[in-house]
Symmetry: C2
Subunit: 279 residues, 2 copies
């Protein structure tokens, strides 16, 4: 693991690291905030998955999570959204595909399958590295994210309910099967057979029987992607009649930006801390 930067913040440490990933075949960069409590003892791990076009840096710079994470004693891990590098396939004029658009799935189609294995990277390889390198209590993990990263957080939680004790999302893509900005990428990554897309779709996973106890979703009503790309009411519909508890909060005037995310960041950190017994 290479240390790219380390800065003291809120009594803890905000670091940026990279490592050679076997899963993606590339050098992967990620950010970790280590709260002051984790110098002395193992602390819970909270995963933040970012949205389309982002790297690890967007939430690190604009998410405003460090003050409350330091208070609550949460380690916050912020991975990149895709493999990077000159040898990684991409569509240069399409921000919804390739670099910055890993969709938190394992691609099966050429030329994407060789590097775009973000599901395995996030759920297997990176957690092993975090467990090895930080004072992380891997028995207490939460996961959240924004937009494409909200999709990632919710699908990963639904597929790994024993691994995670908490899940939340800011403006998540709850139904990539129908969202306008994911269908092209899903077809290229997974092929034309939509049955195979269902394991990476929060609504479809619930319909197919996957369960996670409860979700918190915050959504801005002034979000320009609300109707065509997000539509959280589809997830509300999907969980009806199940034992899944959903807290869906719709906020007047808020958009899709980090101004929205940072406003509700404290609420999400507290949501996770309560469920991770990190108070």
């Amino acid at each position: 693991m290479n240390i790219l930067s380390q800065n003291t913040a809120f009594g803890g440490m905000q670091g940026v690291f990279s490592h050679a990933s076997d899963v993606t075949g590339t050098e992967m960069t990620f950010a970790v905030f280590v709260p002051p409590q984790a110098i002395a003892e193992k602390r819970p791990v909270l995963w933040y998955l970012s949205g389309l076009t982002c790297t690890h840096a967007n939430v690190m710079e604009k998410g405003e999570y460090r003050r409350m994470a330091a208070e609550l004693g949460l380690i916050v891990v912020c991975p990149d959204t895709s493999p990077r590098g000159n040898d990684v396939p991409d569509e240069l004029t399409n921000w919804k595909m390739g670099k910055g658009a890993g969709m938190y799935l394992n691609a099966t189609e050429a030329p994407w399958a060789e590097n775009f294995q973000m599901y395995s990277y996030i759920t297997e390889e990176l957690p092993a590295l975090i467990a090895e390198q930080f004072r992380a209590d891997m028995n207490r993990q939460g996961i959240f994210g924004h937009s494409m990263g909200g999709h990632g957080a919710m699908t990963i939680a639904l597929k790994n309910p024993d691994r995670f004790q908490s899940c939340s999302a800011f403006a998540p893509i709850v139904n990539p099967l129908t969202a306008d900005w994911t269908q092209d990428a899903f077809e290229k990554y997974l092929g034309a057979d939509r049955a195979k897309w269902r394991e990476y779709d929060a609504c479809a996973l619930v319909e197919d029987g996957a369960r996670f106890p409860e979700f918190l979703i915050d959504q801005g009503k002034a979000d320009s992607f609300l109707e065509t790309g997000l539509a959280p009411w589809k997830f509300e519909e999907a969980v009806k009649g199940t034992d899944i508890s959903l807290t869906l909060r719709m906020h007047e005037r808020y958009d899709h930006s980090y101004y929205f995310i940072s406003t509700f960041m404290d609420d999400h950190l507290k949501w996770h801390a309560a469920r991770l017994e990190s108070l």
Copy 2:
């Protein structure tokens, strides 16, 4: 005044605006956070001046001031650090001079004098625009800043003690007469006669009789510019025997970055709010 962007955040509004400045002869950009209270009533104004290489955007994205400013009801104005544009003189390979390095002074030397009038811009032209366009209580103003912007805040407060009720700084350049990163720029902006530099130097202003009731300064001890560019103990020395009160806090492990600034942002906002009676 042109609206470049407006985003809802913490119940208020973070805006970015531009206007044609008579003082600099250029289009100037600035950011304003309007707290929710300022929709209904006039609120105090807090000026944040940024450091070398920055625009209005650095603190807006990384300063983490909105949550507490919304709570305290402070309007936060973040100007640019220099005039910009293709016609503005610059030294392209020197980040301590020209664009991004206005030094909050009025240049007297060619070719700089025509545009680099940041002192007048910050103290006269922009306040008039803020008073006109926002619900700003101009009888309650505070000023703070970082590094070069800490220099700006402190010198502007010392020269305008009737205008401002509060002043603080993160890692300020307290003595540009001796700091290694300001002498070249001061000579080019103001000429070789160092007597003329003294009105833009916090230590020299105090020595020459300028007064402001009290200052809060936070400084990281792991700041790589501490010895050669900042040296806050020089200001501590300058105020000895005066009626100026200085709270100088030295912090182990903190550097010169926004990770340092954001950590202590809440303390500074509360410092100003208490003196602006904005609680």
